[in-house]
């Protein structure tokens, strides 16, 4: 399909957004009719701490060019401590990806509150451009997913 050929390649970004903050912030961006690129797909999770490292690896394996984990600001997690675990896990995950030869920029974490619609939009814009600059993710993508 169009997205796959090199010329028309568009980055595909998978985002795990916590229900209480970033998901709400993304909703607010909609409510305010802000515009951002359609390169992102959001998976709603109850808390950023719910994001199993396996989900991230699976994303890369399935051919996503970037994975974003978003939660509440440190100290604001709806469940008190979930995003602190996210933060620690994020650092470990980055090292693992680096070891596996993946550009660490493909994996990002952001704290976006339910009120920060503009920050959500800006994050999508920025991350999309950063991933675009990195080009398609070939390294981790499952072989049988190539056409």
């Amino acid at each position: 399909m169009a997205r796959i050929d090199a010329e028309n390649w568009e980055p595909k970004i998978l985002a795990f957004c916590c229900n209480w903050c970033t998901y709400t912030g993304a909703d607010l961006a909609g409510l305010n009719r802000m515009k951002y690129p359609d390169n992102i797909r959001i998976v709603r999770v109850p808390c950023s701490g719910r994001v199993n490292p396996q989900f991230i690896l699976r994303g890369f394996q399935k051919g996503y060019d970037g994975v974003l984990v978003c939660g509440c600001h440190p100290g604001d997690c709806h469940y008190t401590s979930g995003n602190y675990f996210t933060r620690r896990r994020f650092l470990l995950m980055k090292r693992l990806l680096e070891y596996a030869g993946i550009e660490t920029g493909r994996f990002q974490a952001r704290w976006i509150s339910g009120a920060e619609a503009a920050k959500f939009r800006d994050t999508v814009l920025k991350v999309t451009e950063e991933i675009r600059a990195l080009g398609p993710n070939h390294r981790m993508k499952e072989a049988d997913d190539h056409e």
């Binding site: 993304a26 909609g30 359609d38 797909r41 701490g49 989900f55």
Partner: protein, 660 residues
């Protein structure tokens, strides 16, 4: 085979003007597991809902995907609708194609493609949905209040007045806390005892309040609506059921002990009431100092008691009771300034006293009957230095935070000295003067007008010379060193959490911040709730504050308790964690990451190589679990999963997205 129904909502033109909804419906119809796909103009309307109900019956659907606005908007609406159909309300997924699609994109082609993706993802997830059932837990209509200061008393009275039973647990032999130690209270200067002792008496006599003094909580299990609390009754050695509080024993007891209620400024007996207006108005024996309990000699009180109430064999007792709600009101202590500030004499000068000692000195029922006399020699001090922020706002030596009440009670102390001692002089060393409160700034202004001299700067050293206390410091407004000769120095010391309060809170599943103050669920929006549902907090246990704020918070906590106790049953969310016990390795990671202490490790019988063994596995308390999923992400064997957001469901979503 699953029979999924997919409804694509136009939302008038909100979605349909950008997303080609008919094309989305067509694509959805081709997705595996989908039996029925259609569009609807206004899905959330009554007619929209009727259309869905009809489709469910007609096409024998067993699960549903609705592509519409955000699930935060109408997930509950649609779940409610499903309760009237053959589909379980949790066999529903919502694709957010409005807020996260039609409203943020303009390219119709791309938006339609994205909407198809989002529907695909919801279909993939719904195929892994399982029917879930809410359960209800009964609410035990009884409240436990821990700590009998003004916070605990106010909360207990409010709940009791509304008609519910309250048990008020206080570790001291009387309720009252710090407020009964105070003389007058700013800014109105009404006598503290006059306004607090009636409340104490009311709490003591209220038919719905059970006072448990000399008690502490030792264990809490269960969850909101159903806490099993074990209360430890410390031995009192006096039978309070028969004692009339005549006071003969206290009068005749030969053993004198430092009186901590009077801040060590006087002596009391080994059998004693905490203070004259104590509630309950009955004595206890201080086992640490009673000669009979220590060495078996004396027993005078026992011989004198006309009713035979003294029992030297008294033992501690444990009582377990069920409560629906818990309020923590464990209050504060003052820091041990002598340790933190050796430069102020470290406690070796009798005439350098704390603010609370000063309160006892000016108090008509205190050791000097309200005459301000220096503890050292009983003389009336003519010049008094008041030092503020001793231990507050001083992270290098003690606490980084502001203790909030001190600016005002320092002004109060200055006022009291100037009023009571004719010709006296008062110097107040301060960093800033903070007076945010009704009538507070006016009170401070008046104190200065009365003659109190405010010097901006910290006191760096206090030493004795020629019978005077020399207070050296810098006046930062003129940039000069100053030294004031004083007869007495009052240190307004920092508040800190009551000793042992963090442990008590931990018992009830409540955490504390780095300074030990108990943590509220949200600093702005849920100020009296805690992360543990059903446990509330109020007063200085949460952070330094004065009496008006303490009482306001106590009534707020009571309102929350009443909201809970007014219910007969609580519905619990079924979207909680479950453990696949045979797969669990018992590593305990989940227990560590759980923010609400819903997970415990239990031993279960098992078979290994034909032999009976016990294994340790995780167990989730369904009443406590709040459904965050932290445990699931931490689990090494993948045996703990979050219903409604299972690993499988999320992975299916990841796989489904962007399938070409």
């Amino acid at each position: 085979m699953a029979r999924t129904g997919v409804i694509i909502c136009h939302c008038g033109s909100n979605i349909a003007s950008v997303v080609d909804v008919e094309r989305v419906a067509l694509a959805a119809g081709q997705m595996p597991g989908v039996t029925y796909a259609a569009t609807n103009k206004y899905t959330c309307s009554i007619s929209g809902q009727d259309m869905i109900k009809q489709a469910i019956a007609e096409h024998e659907l067993d699960r549903l995907v609705i592509a519409s606005c955000t699930p935060r908007m109408h997930e509950t609406t649609f779940r409610k609708m499903l309760t009237k159909t053959s589909i379980n309300p949790y066999m529903l997924e919502i694709a957010n194609i409005r807020e996260q699609c039609s409203w943020v994109h303009t390219d119709k082609e791309k938006a339609t493609e994205k909407a198809i993706d989002l529907v695909h993802m919801a279909v993939a997830k719904v195929l892994k949905d399982q029917p879930l059932f809410t359960s209800s837990i009964p609410v035990h209509k009884k409240c436990l209040v821990v700590g009998g200061g003004i916070a605990g008393i106010q909360a207990a009275l409010d709940v009791a007045e509304a008609g519910y039973e309250v048990t008020l647990v206080e570790r001291e032999p009387s309720i009252g806390g710090k407020m009964v130690m105070l003389d007058k209270t700013f800014p109105t200067l009404d006598c503290s005892a006059c306004i607090s002792t009636p409340k104490m008496a009311e709490a003591g006599a209220h038919p719905n309040i059970r006072l448990m003094t000399s008690c502490e909580i030792s264990a809490v299990t269960g969850y909101i609506g159903n806490f099993q609390v074990t209360i430890r009754q410390k031995p009192r050695y006096v039978n309070h059921d028969t004692c009339t509080g005549c006071g003969l024993c206290e009068e005749k007891c030969p053993t004198k002990v430092t009186n901590l209620f009077d801040q060590s400024l006087s002596k009391r007996k080994a059998i004693y009431k905490l203070f004259p207006q104590a509630v309950p108005a009955k004595p206890v024996i201080d086992s640490e100092h009673c000669t009979m309990l220590k060495s078996g000699k004396c027993g005078l009180c026992s011989k004198l008691c006309p009713l035979g109430c003294i029992n030297f064999e008294d033992q501690e007792d444990f009582i377990t009771e069920t409560f629906g709600a818990i309020v923590l009101a464990t209050g504060y202590d003052l820091i041990d300034w002598a340790k933190a500030y050796p430069e102020y004499g470290g406690g070796k000068y009798a005439n350098v006293i704390s603010g609370l000692q000063f309160e006892r000195l000016v108090n008509a029922s205190g050791p000097t009957e309200g005459h301000i006399q220096r503890p050292g020699d009983g003389a009336e001090p003519k010049t008094v230095v008041i030092v503020k922020c001793v231990g507050s706002r001083d992270p290098a030596k003690a606490k980084a935070y502001c203790s909030r009440a001190c600016c005002m009670y320092a002004a109060k102390h200055a006022h009291q000295i100037l009023e009571k001692i004719e010709g006296s002089k008062v110097y107040v060393f301060y960093i800033d003067v903070r007076t945010p409160g009704k009538g507070y700034e006016e009170f401070y202004d008046k104190t200065r007008a009365d003659g109190a001299v405010y010097i901006r700067g910290r006191v760096s050293k206090i030493y004795e010379e020629g019978g005077k206390l020399i207070c050296k410091g810098e006046d930062t407004l003129i940039g000069k060193q100053v030294a004031v000769e004083a007869d007495m120095v009052v240190l307004e010391t920092a508040m800190e959490p009551a000793h042992g309060s963090t442990e008590t809170a931990a018992t009830a599943g409540v955490s504390a911040d780095k300074d030990g103050w108990l943590t509220e669920a949200h600093p702005k929006l849920r100020p009296v709730e805690t992360q543990t549902a059903g446990v509330y907090l109020c007063g200085t246990a949460q952070g330094p504050k004065d009496i008006p704020d303490t009482v306001a918070q106590a009534s707020a906590a009571a309102a929350k308790v009443l909201g809970l106790l007014a219910k007969d049953e609580l519905e619990t969310s079924p979207m909680i964690s479950v453990v696949d016990a045979p797969k669990c390795s018992g590593c305990g990671f989940c227990e560590q990451v759980c923010p609400v202490k819903a997970i415990s490790m239990v031993d279960v019988p098992s078979m290994y190589n034909g032999k009976r063994v016990t294994r340790t596995v995780a167990q989730v308390n369904s009443g406590l679990c709040s459904g965050c999923g932290a445990c699931s992400a931490a689990c090494r064997t993948g045996c703990i999963d979050l219903l409604g957001f299972t690993n499988k469901q999320i992975l299916e979503e990841v796989d489904a997205l962007w399938q070409e």
